[in-house]
């Protein structure tokens, strides 16, 4: 691993973001729109005269957490697509850059994007809806870390599939993460789902993060069981995704896909 090469690839994306208004907006615009919509929905539900759990916290916490996962995944998948669109992949893969360095740089980019987006959302949620995510205390750290881990392996998996199946599969960069949403019990408890779907949800690390978050907001404290499940599943899936990426790269080198994926 060379820190200089990782910094080089990171620099390539930071230069891009510095200059591109649309890419900067992507970091801020969609998350803020989501926050506004879910914030107002929460305010409305909170006015309903029924004994409901702290809905504002549930919805806004879920929305911010979902965005952390989504931005971490996007950072990896879209970074790869940027080089596909720029017809720069061959230039990159004839440098001494290793697959590990390539993925590490995009993972770091993910952390940077997540930091900017979540800070913006936390400040807005506090000022508009008086919801302070930091009330979750130190429990926030392992939950967020798990969301970033999930974002990484889904991003790596997406990139591997695009590498293997070409630009025709690029919509996966946006679609794959949303495949997780209905099963991850993001905005509702897992118990709402039909029993069979609950089993699917149980094996997604995101489900345990969102269940854990709701338990903390409801005053139940950090669930070590959910945290252990989320971490364990993430570690397994991260290694599996890296294996799939290595396989996709080997297939790409065997079939000449690196020469063709740029279209």
């Amino acid at each position: 691993m060379s820190a200089k090469r990782i910094a080089g690839l990171l620099l390539r994306h930071l230069y891009l973001y510095r200059r591109s208004l649309t890419r900067m907006l992507e970091v801020a615009y969609w998350p803020v729109m989501d926050l506004l919509v879910w914030g107002f929905v929460s305010l409305y539900i909170a006015q309903v005269p029924a004994k409901l759990p702290p809905v504002i916290g549930f919805f806004l916490g879920a929305m911010i957490f979902w965005d952390i996962f989504y931005r971490a995944q996007q950072a990896i998948a879209i970074s790869f697509l940027e080089d596909v669109w720029a017809r720069n992949l061959i230039n990159l893969f004839i440098t001494p850059l290793s697959v590990g360095e390539f993925l590490t740089a995009t993972m770091i980019l993910g952390i940077l994007k997540v930091t900017v987006t979540s800070l913006l959302l936390v400040v807005l949620a506090l000022s508009l809806y008086h919801f302070n995510l930091f009330h979750l205390g130190l429990s926030l750290i392992p939950l967020v870390a798990n969301l970033i881990l999930t974002g990484w392996w889904v991003g790596i998996l997406t990139t591997g599939l695009i590498l293997r199946f070409g630009q025709g599969a690029e919509s996966l960069a946006w679609a794959l993460a949303f495949l997780f949403q209905p099963f991850s019990a993001v905005f509702y408890p897992l118990s709402v789902l039909p029993p069979l779907v609950q089993v699917v949800g149980w094996y997604l690390p995101t489900t345990h993060v969102f269940e854990g978050m709701r338990q903390i907001i409801a005053g139940g404290g950090l669930s070590w069981a959910h945290l252990a499940w989320a971490t364990g599943l993430n570690v397994i899936y991260l290694f599996a995704a890296m294996g799939i990426f290595q396989w996709a790269m080997a297939v790409a080198r065997r079939l000449g896909l690196l020469l063709r994926v740029e279209g």
């Binding site: 200089k4 620099l11 891009l16 591109s20 230039n91 004839i94 440098t95 001494p96």
Partner: protein, 241 residues
């Protein structure tokens, strides 16, 4: 002969089609070798295998005494490649792109190196221009600047003057020759400009349907095929396809 590149029985099969069919050749340090052949002859496939972009079906590749793909990273640090058909991010400036690649190649004092190379290729005034706004000729020269950032011991070029007007092409040829002579760099390149190949190459490797059909100095190859120019030879081979 001190081979910096040794290819033995190299074969690449795609869906039963032998794109490269058991070719073997060596390139000596400081040599300029032109790889010729009609479209589909296997030139790009061969170079892609040497650069580790493609895994060979069979055969071995030794670059600077190291095996590709087993020692890919160590090899790639000491070679480079440029092609007018491979772009750099259009939404970064010339300087930003070069700084990124300088990092990737671990170039010491990248600022100085980039300034020198931009000057040599007449791109100094474009350093803050977006890469996407360069003309095709300027983009080709930028590709060459990128390819020389790490002082490669072997430089692979794919049609280096394809998108250049005659004056710019001559400037690039002279510049590459000068750099090659100053640094003792090995140059392996493909071109469809037969006059250029005759003028520049110490040796040519003529590929046809994945096989080497001729190898030697341009004069030797012309004698063997009883042709007056490489252009005539090329046309004869291409029309026999």
């Amino acid at each position: 002969m001190d081979p910096v590149l040794k290819v033995t029985n190299l074969t690449k099969v795609f869906n039963g089609l032998r794109a490269v069919d058991g070719i073997s050749f060596e390139v000596a340090r400081g040599e300029i070798v032109g790889v010729l052949g009609p479209n589909g002859a296997g030139k790009t496939t061969t170079i892609a295998m040497i650069l580790g972009l493609l895994t060979p079906t069979a055969g071995t590749i030794q670059v600077l005494g190291m095996s590709m793909p087993q020692e890919r990273q160590r090899i790639l640090a000491r070679v480079n490649f440029s092609s007018p058909y491979v772009a750099m991010p259009y939404n970064l400036t010339v300087l930003e792109n070069l700084l990124v690649f300088a990092h990737l190649y671990g170039v010491q004092a990248p600022g100085k190196k980039i300034r020198e190379l931009l000057e040599i290729f007449g791109l100094s005034t474009h350093s803050h221009q977006l890469t996407g706004r360069l003309s095709s000729g300027e983009a080709t020269r930028l590709g060459l600047v990128k390819a020389l950032l790490n002082d490669p011991e072997i430089l692979f070029l794919d049609e280096p003057t394809a998108s250049l007007d005659p004056d710019a092409a001559e400037h690039v040829r002279q510049t590459l020759l000068r750099i090659q002579q100053e640094r003792g760099m090995t140059l392996v390149y493909t071109s469809h400009n037969m006059q250029e190949v005759e003028r520049l190459s110490h040796r040519i490797i003529f590929l046809h349907r994945g096989r080497i059909i001729a190898e030697g100095s341009p004069a030797e190859v012309l004698r063997r095929f009883q042709q007056e120019s490489l252009e005539q030879l090329f046309l004869e081979v291409a029309r026999k396809q």
